[in-house]
């Protein structure tokens, strides 16, 4: 479990994280979303005790992490930027970390195999591709079988096989009752892996919700109705809490009411309906909607 309370971090006059509070529960995969510069990596660094908060607290498994007697049992972390020594082999990078907690070579070899690094374990990590480096970083995070796992952009640079490996790995870690917090820019990947979400924008919490609730409240979730009687059906359905949008074609976009209710209402009023399709906003659409006001770095329009 990760409990973050009133966390604030300033670098000079820029506030990277601003009064952030949220809880990451064990047993599920929690996605950590936000545009570039939203403060995800800074938050993760503070969870690992690498950056000191200006105010607020972070507790990992109920403890103040820097004071944990056996840190590698509490937290395994993969940071966004590379954190391996290029002059050391993959095995020695892992062994050096393992030694601090009295973890033996057998476990080191185990995570090497787990991460699919068996053939390059003796090679200097400096020659690794981005994907290999990520695998090594994930292996390091798993070394101590930690209760809580925090991964910043783990699928960055991974091949499809690696992406699938991470997806299954995160789910199995959560199924074992561990706490899993993972950030990613790949929304489709996140939608397949995470069940809970924490969304940041400009260092502040935008929302903390299940993936279902998050996409359910986004525009785009509702029912698409194709009918020649758009005006009459629209009037029929209109009620508080229900929105009906007609873009001038024979299509109505209705939200706040189920497809069954619309179908029944149309049938009672003898209005023909040619199509009745429940629609769901994708995680990406939902994400774009909630973060559009807090995107720090807008891409220029392409010409």
């Amino acid at each position: 479990m990760i409990e973050i309370d009133g966390l604030t971090k300033r670098y000079g006059d820029k506030t990277a994280v601003d009064g952030l509070s949220f809880v990451v529960e064990p047993g599920v995969v929690t996605g950590f979303l936000g545009p570039n510069g939203a403060g995800k990596s800074t938050t993760m660094r503070m969870i690992a005790g690498l950056d000191r908060p200006d105010s607020g607290t972070v507790r990992v498994n109920g403890k103040h992490y820097p004071k944990a007697p056996a840190p590698m049992a509490e937290l395994g972390i993969l940071l966004d930027a590379r954190s391996v020594h290029p002059g050391l082999s993959a095995r020695n990078n892992l062994l050096a970390l393992a030694r601090t907690a009295g973890i033996g070579r057998r476990r080191v070899d185990e995570v090497i195999e787990l991460a699919g690094l068996g053939e390059v374990a003796g090679t200097r990590a400096g020659g690794f591709s981005l994907g290999m480096g990520q695998r090594l970083g994930v292996a390091a995070a798993l070394l101590g079988r930690p209760q809580t796992v925090v991964l910043d952009e783990p699928v960055n640079g991974l091949d499809p096989d690696g992406v699938r490996w991470i997806r299954l790995l995160l789910k199995s870690l959560a199924a074992e009752g561990r706490t899993v917090l993972v950030s990613s820019h790949l929304m489709s990947e996140m939608a397949q892996t995470a069940t809970q979400l924490v969304v940041l924008g400009r260092g502040k919490l935008i929302t903390e919700a299940s993936v279902e609730d998050f996409t359910g409240h986004a525009t785009g979730t509702g029912v698409l109705v194709r009918t020649p009687e758009t005006v009459r059906l629209g009037q029929l359905l209109a009620a508080p809490g229900i929105t009906v949008i007609n873009d001038g074609t024979d299509i109505l976009r209705v939200s706040g009411i189920t497809a069954e209710q619309i179908g029944a209402a149309a049938w009672r009023a003898h209005l023909p309906v040619y199509e009745l399709t429940p629609t769901h906003a994708s995680l990406e659409e939902a994400f774009m909607q909630v973060t559009k006001d807090s995107i720090e770095y807008h891409a220029g329009a392409t010409r």
């Binding site: 007697p69 590698m72 590379r82 002059g87 020695n92 009295g102 209760q147």
Partner: protein, 287 residues
């Protein structure tokens, strides 16, 4: 007390089998962080790095090779009132002046190498108390440099003495006044110099900055100061290289103001202050 076991009869009030709990996480394999474990971790890194092997080899070549070269060139050394055995040995240890730069690289890199590559984040994430990392690096560096340079210094002495006497020079002995102190002292000097390099690396975090400051302190400033007029360079003997040089009799500077062990104590003082600053910065600053 008697225990009845294996009767197959369970008491009627035996607790039922525990209800299936949510899949428990497999036990962790990670134990507590101890200073000894962090030392082992740092030794794993230091031993595996190529730079360590190269710097150690170059150090040995510089100390022993340069000493043998000096002993074997020029006129054979004859001990007299003006040419003490100690002065001769001090000259044969000239390689220490160059070895200190090579060892300074190892010292600075111990931290700056980790900051430069990003490994420091992994290191400090698993040792969030941080200070054990500094002490461990210090201990493994001393554990490497002290024995290596001690062996080199004695090999240098015995090789140099053998070469001199074979060329008809005086037989130099470790029992001559000051000789043992200089030979062993050169190793002590280099060991403290490495600690200063380590502290600079931890304080400045960048390899280029650490090496520049190190080279400035141990090479450039002493040379610049030695060119100053006599009356305003009284502080020169308190520069780290000159103060520490008093212990092994830096060849270039005949007029040491400080006595050998006072000078060494001054050098150690620099190391202690810099290490304390490094510890403070490591604790306080974001990694």
């Amino acid at each position: 007390m008697t225990a009845v076991m294996g009767t197959g009869l369970a008491p009627a009030h035996a607790a039922p089998a525990p209800a299936p709990a949510p899949a428990p996480a497999p036990a962790t394999v990670a134990g507590p962080v101890t200073q000894v474990r962090v030392i082992r971790a740092e030794w794993t890194k230091l031993r595996a790095l190529r730079s360590t092997r190269w710097c150690t080899l170059i150090t040995a070549v510089l100390i022993v090779g340069l000493g043998a070269l000096i002993a074997g060139s020029g006129t054979a050394y004859h001990v007299s009132a003006g040419n003490t055995a100690a002065a001769g040995i001090s000259t044969a240890l000239l390689g220490v002046l160059f070895a200190q730069l090579v060892l300074g690289v190892i010292g600075v890199l111990a931290f700056s190498g980790e900051y430069g590559t990003g490994m420091i984040r992994a290191t400090l994430a698993v040792v969030p108390a941080r200070l054990p990392v500094l002490w461990a690096k210090l201990i493994v560096l001393v554990g490497l440099v002290l024995p290596v340079t001690m062996v080199c210094a004695f090999v240098d002495f015995f090789a140099g003495a053998a070469i001199e006497s074979s060329r008809g020079g005086s037989v130099l002995s470790l029992t001559e006044p000051g000789v043992l102190r200089e030979v062993a002292g050169s190793s002590l000097y280099l060991t403290v110099v490495v600690i200063i390099g380590l502290a600079l690396g931890a304080l400045l975090r960048k390899t280029a900055a650490g090496l520049s400051v190190f080279a400035a302190v141990f090479f450039v400033i002493p040379i610049v100061v030695s060119a100053l007029p006599q009356n305003i360079r009284g502080f020169a003997s308190y520069l780290p290289s000159n103060a520490g040089g008093a212990l092994w009799g830096t060849p270039q500077d005949a007029a040491h103001v400080l006595s050998p062990w006072t000078g060494f104590a001054v050098l150690c003082g620099y190391a202690v202050v810099l290490t304390a600053l490094a510890a403070w910065r490591l604790r306080r600053r974001d990694a």
